[in-house]
Symmetry: C2
């Protein structure tokens, strides 16, 4: 497990230097030019070494519906998604592998999987995703997606009186599943963490959030949730609480330094102050926010307010990929149209810091990973700067972030274990994965969501369409 | 040159069918299942066949500065760009090759190169780009970028009185260069067209636009220009003409069915009516518009008004890539945040039509290419649907447009001539190109634009920053 990367380019304050990097027992032990070779020698010449990025929000099983979802806003899109969600454990396994592979090959060494649970097979779903991530060797934060209200409760009622079916599983039973998963699978030192992850205020009671916060305190778990992704959710929060969702989540104690919140598109200035004060992290999912028409999250404002921001791909049905470099690029340049003053725009070096250290902070592991420092764990990615997509030679980080790099990850290590070598994932047979994904699917175009047909008229009326 | 693609998937009205496609002497001669093989048999199984797309606006030599340009709005960005623009004909050649290769490998069979001319070597620059495009075999529209006012004239003066150096070359001399280029190189039937292309109202006199319109009429050339890319240009048009730029261009006769206009971010509703009435084409460059903070072009409005829209990558210094599929994806989903009514959003099938037929219309060749029809010229692309990035199998066009496809172009033909086979460009040695790009460049981070230092204070003051 010991190795020495020789002659790699690394980023200095505002330039690059060529160094060797020694890794001993998974830990970066030295960074300097001309080091002795410890363990395996790795050729770093014409390569850029960066800390691994974090894919800070996704839903792995959405891979089964990428490319086919209708052009809908979140509320209708979710109805379609659930009408056709895979109910097969084998598919959970394959899409977790696929998500891990695409994340690794686009610079990510950690993934937060806000994992959709198959009803009645909740524990098995979690166990299967854990197995897949262990096989690939990516650092995984498995965040079982839970709720305790039924789908229709997630839409604002507007003027009308709406009643909703009770959710099929009790809040207590749901919390028991999570606690059992923690006991069985939560092994941060082995690269698998369980995260508490109510889907969001739109489908969860206070009791569920509070139960999750208790588990988080008891086992030192990270906390995750969707937050104010759409205008409809903004309306719903006012209907439900008479205040903003952020104000409410603060009041019930869900926000802290271990809390990461996906989307955060529709927040007030006061909400932003609350996120900063509680040290919560915003996970920016730019492609999903565009695809679903959710809006442009005010990321420049978050940064100015001192809120930590990281990047996520979101599930592949709303993206429709798991290319983390794409999310980083679009999540960086998108905001230039929201502020005329270019001095506020995100630079490529800032993007890299958000994706690596920002991601680590949001998962309460900034002391362990997220930057190239001696004594940190070796979550590293080595990029091939001789790839056509990174030529001609200019600023390597600029090319990586602002370009459209393909086939550029030469090597990757998670906690010092090599998981990508010569551009290929070494831990699983990706060609076999490709064949399995092919076999378990078929091309199709014609499908209609029954639930969308039922709820679309109400949605249009509430949203004034 | 004759071939038959067997068992390829093609798009029907709202589904897919499996067919054979015969191509005889560069022309699609039959499309139907179970055809006799004419010429070479091409395996189309598990592949999607689409008409080639058009990269409808780029500047090839910007490839030399991709990844390194500061995060600036257009006006300052241009100053930096020109301070470091390559002045070397060999570089023009290599970046034209690179632009062609990246376009082909992301589904484009045509490219519009709004070609920056090296001062004093204008004709040589054009000849060199033409040579590169002929070698690669992409269908090229070489649009020499011309102006007859100096760079500082491109900024609004605000309250101040500004005087500008005269441009170093006369309007007449510039028009002579273009006419000579037409005589020597304009051979549409051989895949090379010359296009008249004043850079835009911000740096061109009426005499230049009118001279170009005359050449266009005389030789039946397409017309191209930048249009209202930034707020600064919107201000400048009012200062210069007392009306919008579109109103002025209509008045001086530059707009017609052969005119394609890059960007079109800041147009009034009346301007949109003028574009529709004159049958002008909007070229949407979403990545550049984001990167430079220019704004979100009102593409949904254009489509509703019946204006033809196509996609461009724009130059690689403001993108910073030449991946046409990326431009198509972002240029499609970006607009969902501008209109709450999802019924107006662009579907993947519409995106494909904009990229292929929309591109062809903007270049006055919709009768020849842009769709899979018998008697059209064979500008075709065959996508490998077994690529990991296009799996699991769902809707092939959805995966292609909304995903992040990599390594998916199996084959491509331009006018019936194969230019990509088994994922590799067949006409030039791409590995050699890669080495040449490497050799002619070096990694750097520290450079400062002298011109930006001179003009930045004025820019900030005029823009109220």
């Amino acid at each position: 497990m010991n190795f020495t990367i020789q002659n790699a380019l690394i980023a200095g304050e505002d330039d690059y230097t060529t160094v060797d990097v020694q890794v001993v027992e998974g830990i970066i032990s030295a960074i300097a030019p001309g080091l002795d070779v410890v363990g395996e020698a790795i050729e770093g010449k014409n390569k850029l070494l960066l800390p691994g990025f974090v894919n800070a929000h996704t839903h792995s099983s959405e891979m089964w519906q990428r490319g086919i979802m209708s052009m809908f806003p979140l509320e209708l899109w979710l109805a379609e998604l659930y009408d056709f969600a895979p109910l097969d454990i084998e598919k959970v396994y394959l899409s977790a592998l696929g998500t891990a592979v695409e994340t690794l090959l686009s610079g990510g060494t950690s993934v937060v999987d806000h994992l959709v649970l198959i009803p009645g097979k909740e524990f098995e779903t979690i166990a299967t995703a854990v197995r897949a991530y262990k096989e690939v060797g990516i650092r995984a934060f498995v965040a079982p997606l839970i709720q305790d209200e039924s789908l229709t409760a997630g839409m604002p009622s507007g003027e009308s009186q709406q009643t909703h079916e009770p959710y099929f599983r009790s809040t207590a039973a749901t919390l028991e599943i999570i606690e059992e998963a923690v006991k069985q699978f939560h092994r941060p030192e082995e690269g698998i963490s369980i995260v508490t992850a109510p889907t969001g205020i739109q489908l969860c009671t206070d009791a569920l959030f509070e139960g999750c916060a208790e588990l988080s305190d008891k086992y030192n778990l990270c906390r995750h949730s969707h937050l104010l992704e759409t205008k409809a959710q903004e309306k719903l929060a006012q209907e439900k609480y008479g205040c903003t969702a952020v104000e409410h989540l603060k009041r019930i104690g869900y926000l802290d330094y271990r809390t990461s919140l996906a989307h955060c598109v529709h927040l007030t200035d006061k909400d932003i102050e609350i996120l900063a004060a509680t040290k919560s992290t915003v996970v920016h999912n730019p492609l999903s926010n565009l695809r679903l028409g959710s809006g442009i999250a005010p990321i420049l404002k978050y940064r100015q307010a001192g809120v930590n921001v990281s990047f996520g791909c979101d599930g592949a049905s709303s993206n429709d990929s798991q290319d983390l470099l794409e999310a980083i690029k679009i999540g960086s340049i998108l905001h230039n149209v929201t502020d005329l003053d270019y001095q506020h725009w995100i630079t490529p070096r800032q993007s890299v810091e958000m994706a690596a250290l920002g991601g680590a902070k949001g998962l309460n592991m900034a002391d362990k990973v997220g930057s190239l420092c001696v004594d940190k764990e070796a979550d590293l990615v080595l990029y091939d700067l001789t790839s056509l997509s990174l030529l001609p030679r200019t600023d390597p980080i600029g090319l990586l972030v602002l370009g459209r790099p393909t086939n550029i990850v030469d090597s990757a290590w998670v906690n010092g274990k090599q998981v990508v070598k010569d551009g290929q994932v070494t831990t699983i047979d990706v060609d076999n994965l490709r064949q399995e994904l092919f076999k378990h699917s078929e091309w199709s175009t014609k499908r209609k969501s029954k639930t969308v047909a039922e709820i679309e008229a109400h949605y249009r009326s509430v949203m004034g369409l």
